[in-house]
C-alpha cells in the first residue's frame, strides 16, 4: 500500500502550485482592473466553461483519490475485508490500554485496530518518529471505532490521541509502541 507520506508530498505539491497560481492571478487582476482595455465584457461562454471546470474538479477529486489512495476504498469496505491481525484497545481516564506492551505487526498484513472509549471522545493516531502522521481516527464513547491498515515497510510508530479531551489529553502519547517488522 502506498505510504501516507507519499500522499502528503503529492498534496503539498498540488496545493502549493494552486496557491501560487491563485495569488498571481489576483495580482494580475488587481493590476489590470485599474487599466483601460479593449473589452470590459466577460463572455457567458467563459463563465459557463468556468462552471463546468468547477463541477469537474469538485467531483473528480474524490473519484481520483478513491482510486489512487488505497486506504480510501479499504476504509469504506472494511467490514467485508478480512484482517490478518486485530488489536483491541481501550481508552479511559486519558490513558490507552493496549493488549500488549508492544504491538508487533508484519509488513503487508492487514491490521484492524478496534478502539473503544469508556468515558470521553478521544482520537487514535499513529505517528512516525519525525512526528508525521500515518493515520488517525476519532474515538467516540459508546461506539466501536475501528480502522483497517496495511503497512508497506518496517518501522516503529508512536500512538497519540488526536482529539482534544480536556487539558489532560495533551500528553496522551505512547512512544514507539507499534513495531512493523519484515514478513517472516
Amino acid at each position: 500500500m502506498v505510504d501516507s507520506q507519499v500522499v502528503l508530498n503529492g498534496q503539498t505539491f498540488a496545493y502549493t502550485f494552486y496557491a501560487i497560481a491563485i495569488i498571481l492571478l489576483m495580482l494580475w487582476f488587481g493590476y489590470k482592473v485599474t487599466k483601460s482595455g479593449k473589452t470590459n465584457q466577460v463572455s457567458s461562454t467563459l463563465f459557463y466553461s468556468f462552471v463546468a471546470l468547477l463541477i469537474v474538479m469538485g467531483v473528480s477529486l474524490h473519484i481520483v483519490t478513491y482510486h489512487t489512495i488505497p486506504w480510501a476504498s479499504m476504509d469504506l469496505n472494511r467490514k467485508e475485508l478480512k484482517a490478518d491481525k486485530a488489536f483491541d484497545i481501550n481508552i479511559q481516564d486519558h490513558k490507552f490500554f493496549l493488549p500488549a506492551e508492544k504491538l508487533v505487526i508484519q509488513v503487508d498484513d492487514k491490521v484492524m485496530f478496534n478502539v473503544t472509549s469508556s468515558d470521553l471522545t478521544y482520537g487514535f493516531g499513529l505517528f512516525r518518529s519525525d512526528h508525521s502522521m500515518v493515520f488517525q481516527m476519532q474515538v467516540i464513547p459508546g461506539h466501536l471505532n475501528d480502522i483497517l491498515w496495511k503497512f508497506d515497510k518496517p518501522g516503529v510508530y508512536t500512538i497519540r490521541s488526536t482529539e482534544y479531551s480536556g487539558p489532560k489529553g495533551a500528553q496522551m502519547i505512547l512512544k514507539d509502541v507499534v513495531e512493523v517488522v519484515a514478513k517472516q
Binding site: 500522499v7 496557491a19 467516540i140
Partner: protein, 545 residues
C-alpha cells in the same frame, strides 16, 4: 491641526457625532464592540502562537486551553457577529429604502452580543472552563476537569449571544416584509419569497419577457438567506446549551446524571449540523452577498449573471443544510453513505457555489475598468483571494482519503479556517467598513492613507503567511488542539508567529487610523444618545450642518 487636536477631534474635525442618526450611532457601536473583541481574539491568538513555539511558564496548560476555547467564540460571536449584524441592520433598510422594523430590538442585539461574549469570556478566564467550541459529548459535563459553576456561566454567556442573534433574525425578516406607518400595504408574502430566492430560481426557467421582477435586491436576498442559517444555528446552539446546563446544574444540586444518556455520535451529528451552518452556511452566503453589494457599489453597475447569482445563493442555502458530515469523516461509526454523500459530494458543491460568487464578483469589477485602487476595492480583492485559497483547502480535507491524514492537524485550522476567516471574511468586512465609513459618519475623512496601505499589506501577508506555515506544519503531522513541549515544529511555528505579529500590527494600524479619523471625542460621542428620529437612516441634508 496638530496631533493632539486630531486625536481629540478627529481628522480635520470633520466627524461630528451630534449629527448622527440613532441608526448611524447604532451601527458604529456594533463596529466598536466588534473591533474590541477582534482585539481580544488577536491578542489571544498571539499568546497561542507564542505558546506553540515555547510554552509560556506563567500560563498553565489549563489556562492555554481556556484561551483556545474562548478564542474562536470571541472571534466569531463577539467580533464577526457584531460587525456583520450591525452592517446588515443598517444595510437592509438602506437598500430597501424603508426604516428598520425595530431600532430598540437592534439595540438589544448589540447589548446582548457584547454582554454575552463578555460573560462567557470571563467565565473561561476565571474558571478555565475549556471544552472547546466543539463541545464533544460528554466533555462539557466532565466535572473531573472543569468547574460546573464556570460551565454554567459560560453556557449562559453563549445563550445570551444567541438571544441577541434571534432578535437580529426577527428584525431582518420583519424589516423585509413589514409595512411602515403611512405606507401603502406591502406584499409581505411576495417580499418573503423574493428574499428567499424562489423568484430568482423560477426566472431561470422562464423566457426573458416572462421573468418576474425581483422585489428585493440581490444583497438583501443574500442577507435573508444567510439569516435563515443564522436562525437555525442559534436554535441548535441554544438547544445544546440547555442540555449541557441541565447536567451542570444537576451536578451542583447533588444529582449526577448519566453521561451515557446522550449518544455521543448522535450529539456530534446534530451539533455539527448546527455549527456548520456558521462555517458553511451563513459565512459563505453572507460573504457572497457582501461581495455582490461591494462590487455593485464600487462599480455602479449591475451584477454580472444576476439570476445565476440569486439561484446560486439558494443552492448554497440547501447545500449548507446537508454538508455537516464532512466534520465526521474520521468517525468510524458514522455511516459510510453519509461520509460520501454529505461529506464528500455535497461539500464539493461549495467549490461550485463559492467559485461562482468569485467569478461573478470579478466579472462585475472587470466590466467597470479602469477602476481606482481604493481601500474597499483592494480589501475586496484580498477577501476574494482568501476564499479562493481556503475553500479548495477545505474541499481537500473533505475527502475520505485525505481526511485520514489531515483531520485535526494544523492544515485544517491554518490554510482552511484561518485563511477563510482572517483573509477571506475579515478582509471582506474591512472592505465594507472602509466603504461604509463615510456614509455612517456623515463624511468623516480617513486620517492616513499610508496607514490604510500598511493595514492592507500587513494583514494579507500575515494572514496568508500564517495559514501557509500552519498548513506546512499540519502536513508534517502537527496536530491542533494540543501542546508540543519540545519544539517539534519550531521552524514553522516561529514563521507563523511572525506572520501573527504582522496581523496584530495591521490591526493596531487600522484601529489607530480609525480613532484618529473620528477623534476620542467622536468615539465617546458615538455612545451618547442621538436627538434625531430613530426611523432616519442618514440625516436630512440640513441636519448634517
Amino acid at each position: 491641526m496638530n496631533f493632539k487636536q486630531t486625536f481629540m477631534n478627529g481628522e480635520q474635525g470633520l466627524f461630528k457625532p451630534a449629527t448622527l442618526t440613532p441608526m448611524q450611532k447604532l451601527v458604529l457601536r456594533f463596529v466598536v464592540v466588534g473591533l474590541i473583541y477582534y482585539a481580544f481574539a488577536v491578542i489571544e491568538g498571539m499568546i497561542m502562537r507564542i505558546y506553540q513555539i515555547q510554552p509560556i511558564e506563567a500560563i498553565q496548560d489549563y489556562q492555554y486551553f481556556a484561551i483556545l476555547t474562548a478564542h474562536p467564540l470571541v472571534g466569531i460571536f463577539g467580533s464577526t457577529y457584531s460587525i456583520v449584524f450591525g452592517a446588515f441592520l443598517f444595510l437592509v433598510p438602506y437598500l430597501m429604502k424603508k426604516p428598520l422594523w425595530s431600532y430598540k430590538l437592534a439595540n438589544w442585539t448589540c447589548i446582548l452580543i457584547g454582554s454575552g461574549t463578555l460573560t462567557f469570556w470571563l467565565a473561561g478566564f476565571f474558571t478555565h472552563y475549556a471544552p472547546l467550541y466543539t463541545l464533544y459529548w460528554p466533555l462539557p459535563a466532565d466535572f473531573t476537569q472543569f468547574n460546573p459553576l464556570g460551565g454554567t456561566f459560560f453556557v449562559l454567556g453563549i445563550a445570551i449571544v444567541m438571544t441577541g442573534t434571534v432578535f437580529f433574525v426577527v428584525n431582518i425578516f420583519k424589516t423585509i416584509v413589514y409595512t411602515p406607518d403611512g405606507w401603502e400595504k406591502q406584499p409581505a408574502k411576495a417580499l418573503f419569497l423574493s428574499a428567499m430566492g424562489l423568484s430568482g430560481m423560477t426566472n431561470l426557467f422562464r423566457k426573458k419577457e416572462n421573468q418576474k421582477e425581483h422585489l428585493v435586491s440581490l444583497p438583501v436576498a443574500a442577507i435573508a438567506r444567510g439569516t435563515v442559517d443564522t436562525a437555525l444555528n442559534a436554535g441548535i446552539i441554544l438547544f445544546t446549551g440547555v442540555l449541557i446546563l441541565v447536567y451542570l446544574i444537576a451536578h451542583q444540586i447533588g444529582i449526577d446524571l448519566k453521561n451515557t444518556a446522550v449518544d455521543a455520535l448522535l450529539y456530534k451529528n446534530w451539533f455539527w449540523w448546527g455549527l456548520d451552518l456558521i462555517a458553511d452556511g451563513l459565512v459563505l452566503i453572507f460573504v457572497a452577498g457582501t461581495w455582490y453589494l461591494l462590487a455593485m457599489l464600487i462599480t455602479g453597475k449591475t451584477l454580472f449573471m444576476q439570476n445565476i447569482a440569486r439561484a446560486a445563493l439558494l443552492l448554497e442555502l440547501v447545500v449548507s443544510w446537508t454538508v455537516w458530515s464532512h466534520h465526521l469523516m474520521s468517525d468510524q461509526a458514522q455511516p459510510g453513505i453519509l461520509k460520501v454523500a454529505s461529506g464528500e459530494m455535497v461539500t464539493a458543491f461549495e467549490l461550485i457555489t463559492q467559485g461562482l460568487a468569485f467569478f461573478i464578483t470579478l466579472a462585475t469589477l472587470w466590466s467597470a475598468r479602469p477602476l481606482k485602487m481604493t481601500n474597499p476595492l483592494k480589501f475586496l480583492l484580498g477577501g476574494l483571494m482568501g476564499f479562493a485559497l481556503a475553500v479548495p483547502a477545505g474541499i481537500m480535507q473533505a475527502d475520505l482519503g485525505l481526511n485520514r491524514i489531515l483531520h485535526n492537524t494544523q492544515w485544517i485550522v491554518g490554510p482552511h479556517v484561518h485563511v477563510a476567516v482572517l483573509v477571506g471574511l475579515t478582509m471582506t468586512l474591512y472592505s465594507a467598513i472602509y466603504l461604509l465609513f463615510p456614509i455612517v459618519t456623515n463624511g468623516a475623512k480617513l486620517y492616513s492613507q499610508k496607514l490604510a496601505n500598511f493595514h492592507f499589506w500587513a494583514h494579507i501577508t500575515g494572514g496568508v503567511g500564517m495559514g501557509a506555515f500552519m498548513g506546512m506544519a499540519g502536513l508534517k503531522g502537527m496536530l491542533r488542539r494540543t501542546i508540543y513541549l519540545h519544539g517539534e515544529f519550531n521552524l514553522y511555528m516561529i514563521l507563523a508567529g511572525i506572520c501573527g505579529l504582522l496581523l496584530l500590527l495591521a490591526f493596531l494600524a487600522f484601529f489607530f487610523n480609525i480613532v484618529m479619523s473620528v477623534g476620542l471625542k467622536g468615539v465617546i460621542g458615538i455612545f451618547a444618545p442621538s436627538k434625531l428620529d430613530e426611523k432616519l437612516l442618514v440625516p436630512e441634508p440640513e441636519e448634517q450642518k
